[in-house]
Symmetry: C2
């Protein structure tokens, strides 16, 4: 790409929606320090140099004790003048994860509650955020018709000049 | 979301793939200051506070003289230690745009060549970048089977606490 040197303008936050396909439940938390007790997907800020999927898996483990693996990217939100980013912009990505363990051992400093909640229930409750509600409806569609309807798949590709790898996300090319 | 204050770690670059659906052609450029003459989609860095779609439309106009409008988000690349970002990370997004004008009046400071190229040709040529080649195949799939197979659609939603709006991208909930 033809670009002049720039500077960082965005912080990256990532949440993980861990879906148990055997029973249609998803792992949700309620934050300790919020007035409204809204169910949301566990997540947090990316560390410098950390891949999107790695942030999701790490934050889910830290907050809930559940081990998981990255499956796809589901949604992206861009927000400017984010209150938690000192007036900078925020890019918030929600990933779909598969569970590798199921026992909840949540972090009491961060979470008030943590549960495996039926996606059906999450998609109908008012005790959630607009984005969580939207993504729960998306995940229900995936459960019913197949996740290939809602997923962006990821592929690692070699960067020509640096020898490093980058991650490319887009819709699958073949069904 | 439950997050400690962070800081910006990523620069945001956006490219626009302007597709003329009437003839299956897409607007591509060759950069002036590159050794290899590779076709790519016009694009560049987001200005602070600028929405992803706005960057795509602005960069396409500045580089090629073609007016366009945002349709969807197609692909995201995350790259760390980006050479053009002073060692920070880079998030590069490719949007699908529709043309509002067709006459090319390209910027000779930035571009060596600018053409409406058949997507079929772009998807087969070796004179392009791996990402451009990949996205051209994705766009061909969209032309053949409908863009709803490859698009992330965008919706503006009100932020609860700030009164501002944010943009949310995901797969359409209904077909």
């Amino acid at each position: 790409e033809n670009r002049l040197p720039g500077y960082a303008t965005h912080q990256i936050g990532v949440a993980g929606a861990v879906v148990d396909e055997s029973n249609g439940k998803v792992l949700v938390v309620q934050d300790r320090n919020k007035t409204k007790n809204a169910w949301k997907f566990p997540g947090g800020l990316s560390d410098p140099g950390e891949d999107i999927g790695a942030t999701a898996v790490r934050e889910v483990l830290e907050e809930t004790g559940v081990r998981s693996e990255f499956r796809s990217l589901l949604s992206i939100r861009q927000q400017h003048q984010h209150p938690g980013a000192f007036g900078m912009s925020d890019l918030y990505l929600i990933c779909r994860l598969s569970p590798l363990s199921f026992s909840i051992n949540f972090c009491p400093q961060e979470c008030l509650r943590c549960e495996w909640l039926p996606l059906e229930e999450l998609s109908r409750t008012s005790h959630t955020t607009p984005i969580t509600s939207r993504v729960s409806r998306l995940l229900l569609l995936g459960l019913e018709r197949g996740f290939h309807h809602i997923d962006l798949s990821m592929e690692e590709m070699p960067a020509v000049y640096s020898g490093l790898f980058y991650q490319l996300y887009h819709r699958p090319l073949a069904d």
